[in-house]
C-alpha cells in the first residue's frame, strides 16, 4: 500500500523533501513505518525521542495500524510564535 509522508523543518532538511510517497506492506504499524524511514535516513535517529507522529492530521500513538492512502506526518518539536 501507499503512504503519503510529510516532513517539516529539520526532518525536511534531513530527508531533502517536504513530502514523498512510501510503499509499505499491508497492516504495517506507524512504529514499523518510522523504523523503515529512519533506516533509510539514519540522521533522523537522533530525533526519534522528540518526534511527534500524526496520521491524517491527528496526533496518534505509534501502535496505530496504517491504511492505504494515509497521510503520515513526522513533526519536530514545535516552536511557533516569536523568538
Amino acid at each position: 500500500m501507499q503512504i503519503r509522508l510529510r516532513l517539516f523543518a529539520t526532518y525536511r532538511e534531513i530527508v531533502g523533501s517536504r513530502g514523498l510517497t512510501w510503499s509499505a506492506r499491508d497492516g504495517i504499524t506507524l512504529r514499523e513505518l518510522v523504523d523503515g524511514i529512519v533506516a533509510k535516513y539514519p540522521r533522523l535517529a537522533d530525533h526519534r525521542g522528540s518526534m511527534l507522529l500524526a496520521v491524517n492530521e491527528d496526533i496518534v500513538s505509534a501502535e496505530r495500524v496504517l491504511t492505504d492512502g494515509d497521510e503520515v506526518a513526522l513533526l519536530p518539536p514545535v516552536s511557533g510564535g516569536a523568538r
Binding site: 492530521e57 514545535v78 510564535g81 516569536a82 523568538r83
Partner: protein
C-alpha cells in the same frame, strides 16, 4: 477568526473580530520577530491543515476554560523580517482578569502544540548597517 497566512497580519481586523457589545475587555497579544545578533528574519513553516485544526480547538478550549466570549488567532507563515508580527491572539471577555489569563494561556499553547516551526534567517553584517 483563525488563520495561518503569508500576508501581514491586520491587527485592527483581528481586534474587531472579537468585539461584542456584552464583552467590555479585549486583550491582544502580538508576537514580533525580535532583533538579535545577525538575525534578519524568521522563516515560519507550518503543517497548515493540522495547525488550523489545533488553533480552532485551542480557541474553543480557551472559551470554555476561562469563560471568555471570543478568541481569534492569526499566525504568519513564510518569512517575517525583524520587527514584523508573527502571531496575534485577541480575546474578549466580560471581566479583564480572565481575559488576560485566557490570552496568555493561548499563547503558551500555540508555542507548545501548534505545528509551526521557525528557522532563523541570518544576514551578513553589511558595511551599510554602520551608516544608520
Amino acid at each position: 477568526m483563525i488563520d495561518v497566512r503569508r500576508a501581514r497580519i491586520d491587527l485592527e481586523a483581528v481586534l474587531d473580530s472579537v468585539r461584542r457589545d456584552d464583552a467590555g475587555a479585549i486583550v491582544l497579544f502580538v508576537g514580533t520577530v525580535r532583533s538579535d545578533e545577525g538575525i534578519r528574519a524568521l522563516d515560519y513553516e507550518v503543517y497548515r491543515p493540522m495547525a488550523i485544526k489545533s488553533l480552532t480547538a485551542l480557541a474553543e478550549q480557551a472559551k470554555e476554560k476561562f469563560g471568555i466570549a471570543e478568541m481569534s488567532i492569526v499566525h504568519r507563515l513564510g518569512r517575517v523580517p525583524v520587527g514584523g508580527d508573527s502571531v496575534a491572539i485577541a480575546c474578549a471577555g466580560i471581566h479583564r482578569a480572565e481575559t488576560f489569563a485566557a490570552c496568555e494561556w493561548a499563547m503558551d499553547e500555540v508555542k507548545r502544540i501548534v505545528p509551526i516551526w521557525k528557522t532563523e534567517v541570518e544576514g551578513r553584517a553589511k558595511s551599510v548597517r554602520g551608516s544608520r
